[in-house]
Symmetry: C2
Subunit: 371 residues, 2 copies
């Protein structure tokens, strides 16, 4: 069976790698890995949902090519990005006697990618990692770029490492078993790439939104363009000391909202990002940086995609404005007293603003809480 | 008060740093850190013994320079290099709201250096690290080179990261409160540098051993030459894919012995290395690589330094030869079925041998167990 896929190459010197995007990559994984990592042994890390929906395909393909993978199946959900699950994953990799040149394969959404990636980074001070993202969010965002993490009671992703994968296999067909709400959440990150610095892509998304949700050619194109965008930022700034921070458009708000909703199903990461991006645009307009009609346009687009866009869309109580600001203050992007935000001059024109005044943020959030 | 110290520069590109070696560096730490890391906040990680013996000097110096350091005091001993203490350390750093540009100061022996270094590496995906080693072993070995780790039930140092310090302050005067057994254990690593590739240094050590143990000029010189040797290997091969492995002379045996004695006071790391180096020399002689009189000479030198040199010197039961080989097999340096050892052609002529036959090792160990 001939293979057919897009390739996005990420040129990071001796850590360069390929992202393959296609429709049968899971079934071809055995052949692909055997070619690139002959003789390597494999530990697959996944969660129960993905194990049910997609693991059999991967196992069949790997066994066909002579691999005898070890399976590490964790419970699904954000709470899996914990010290306890990290320890369990590392110990299982060691128990299987995997060595430094062997492969950790992360099969799942961003939770599994982040956790397994972190485990791969620290087990024997660094094992090889292959990402096989199975959620839209993971395919367009978390599997690319080498950020790995677990959460702390003090905040999300506060513990982790930069560890680039050796290969990413993004198989769109795995998205067929993903539920619609999760798909929409991933779509928020796709929209983000347009909003940061590519207004053409953003307008194209507005036009093709329905087709992307239905599957088919536009979906593949959206994934490939998103991967390429992410890769571009990563290459420019691997460890996020500069422009890579633009990828955090909407994320300072989003992380705070996720914290206040307990990283739970009340609000998915992409949903929080959706609200966060609209807030970032509205805040930018309020500060006089951006035209205010952009905010409405974006909000409309995201709502049509089934995404929440306002603080009042968050189900249940999220505390008062002080609590919100406090949650923002523990974000990794905070430096000293002042706050750092990704603001914008309009669609496709995001920029980094250090030293945003806390009080101005408080005033803005206070208004947004009743909007 | 004018400062006076040796400096060893470690040229690692954008991760380059200095090792300062002197007699009053702990008292000058405030001034030195204020100069190099203005405005940074400081979290000190240390253990109870070192806190009692040396922390007051460091605190006084830092406060004098306007720092308000947070103190994280852990229990002493190898068992502190655990998941639980890692979590506790990270959470304390986050609780103190230290940020990415702030400093983790590791004040202690290799245990604290390895644990705090690992915590610094993963907290907020990488905080700055200053090593202030207070044991001889830490001053000549573990504080230099960027290896950090905790232990797994499956073996020593199996979980960790490469994270270079931004600065190392090796103050000899801290060794005055270190007990003699610990000092001797550190001395084993000093001897190691001679044995690897510097026979002149080795012969110099034989001559100056008593002076080094008594303190004074020869001690400072031994520390500085050891740091320089370690730095040389690190620069040549930062992530240990090649020649840096020579630093593991004696360590494959040593790690197995430490495992079988439960990483306890029964056998200190340096003591295990002492036995391991003699075994590596004897094994090399047995295989026809090295002159056998070297083994006796080295064994004599180490015994005069108060170090154990034979398997039978290990107090208590260490199990049978199979158990020993099994423990060797879980070492990180194992690749596939065959074993990798650092062997030698004589004093100052160590080399890496992959594919050492398991059975030959078994035969050798079986003999050594009754010797
Ligand atoms: N590392 C990065 O750069 C980065 C970037 C963005 C987000 N993230 C992280 O990613 C995480 C969110 O990722 P996510 O949205 O993929 O969450 P997730 O991994 O929890 O996946 C969402 C849900 O979908 C299920 N699922 C995934 N793929 C499926 C499939 N093909 N079929 C059926 N069910 C499937 C999962 O079991 C889970 O229940 C967050 O922890 C976030 O912090 C990381
Ligand atoms: N990272 C590396 O490259 C590397 C290299 C070699 C060894 N190591 C690690 O280093 C560890 C051993 O280091 P160690 O021998 O320093 O052990 P250690 O840190 O346990 O220190 C030995 C003992 O001396 C005490 N102590 C230290 N300094 C003191 C002082 N100035 N005054 C009084 N008491 C003091 C400590 O509390 C401890 O009880 C092992 O875990 C080993 O794996 C790491």
């Amino acid at each position: 069976m001939p293979t057919s896929h897009h390739t996005v190459h990420v040129p990071l010197g001796d850590r360069a790698y390929d992202i393959l995007i296609g429709k049968r990559l899971l079934d071809e994984a055995g052949v692909i890995l055997a070619e690139r990592f002959a003789r390597a042994r494999i530990g697959i890390v996944t969660d129960e949902n993905v194990a049910r929906a997609q693991l059999p395909r991967l196992l069949a393909s790997l066994r066909q090519s002579g691999f005898q993978p070890v399976e590490i199946v964790l419970s699904p959900g954000e709470s899996t990005k914990s010290y306890a699950h990290l320890e369990r994953t590392i110990e299982a990799l060691l128990e299987a006697r995997l060595e430094r040149g062997d492969l950790v394969v992360a099969l799942g959404g961003g939770v599994i990618g982040d956790l397994a990636g972190f485990a791969a980074s620290v087990t024997r001070r660094g094992m090889k990692l292959v990402q096989i993202p199975t959620s839209l969010l993971a395919q367009v965002d978390s599997s690319v770029g080498g950020k790995t993490a677990i959460n702390s009671p003090h905040g999300k992703n506060l513990i982790g490492a930069f560890h680039q994968p050796s290969l990413v296999l993004a198989d769109q067909s795995t998205l067929d078993t993903l539920d619609e709400r999760q798909f929409a959440a991933g779509y928020a990150e796709v929209v983000k790439y347009g909003l940061i610095d590519d207004e053409k892509f953003y307008f194209w998304l507005e036009e093709h939104r329905e087709e992307i949700f239905a599957g088919g050619a536009a979906r593949a194109e959206a994934i490939a363009r998103s991967c390429a965008a992410k890769a571009r930022f990563v290459v420019a700034d691997e460890t996020e000391t500069g422009d890579r921070a633009l990828l955090n458009l909407g994320h300072t708000f989003a992380h705070a909202l996720e914290k206040l909703t307990g990283y739970s199903d009340r609000l998915l990461h992409g949903e929080a990002v959706s609200i966060g991006m609209v807030l970032a645009h509205r805040f930018s307009a309020r500060l006089g940086h951006a035209p205010s009609q952009d905010t409405g346009r974006i909000e409309n687009h995201l709502r049509q995609a089934g995404l929440p866009t306002r603080l009042t869309d968050v189900p249940g109580d999220i505390g008062d404005t002080d609590a919100l600001l406090e949650a923002i203050g523990q974000d990794k992007k905070v430096r000293r007293g002042a706050l750092t935000f990704i603001l914008t001059r309009g669609i496709g024109r995001a920029f980094i603003e250090h030293d945003v005044d806390r009080d101005t943020v408080w005033q803005f959030l206070e208004r947004m809480r009743t909007r």
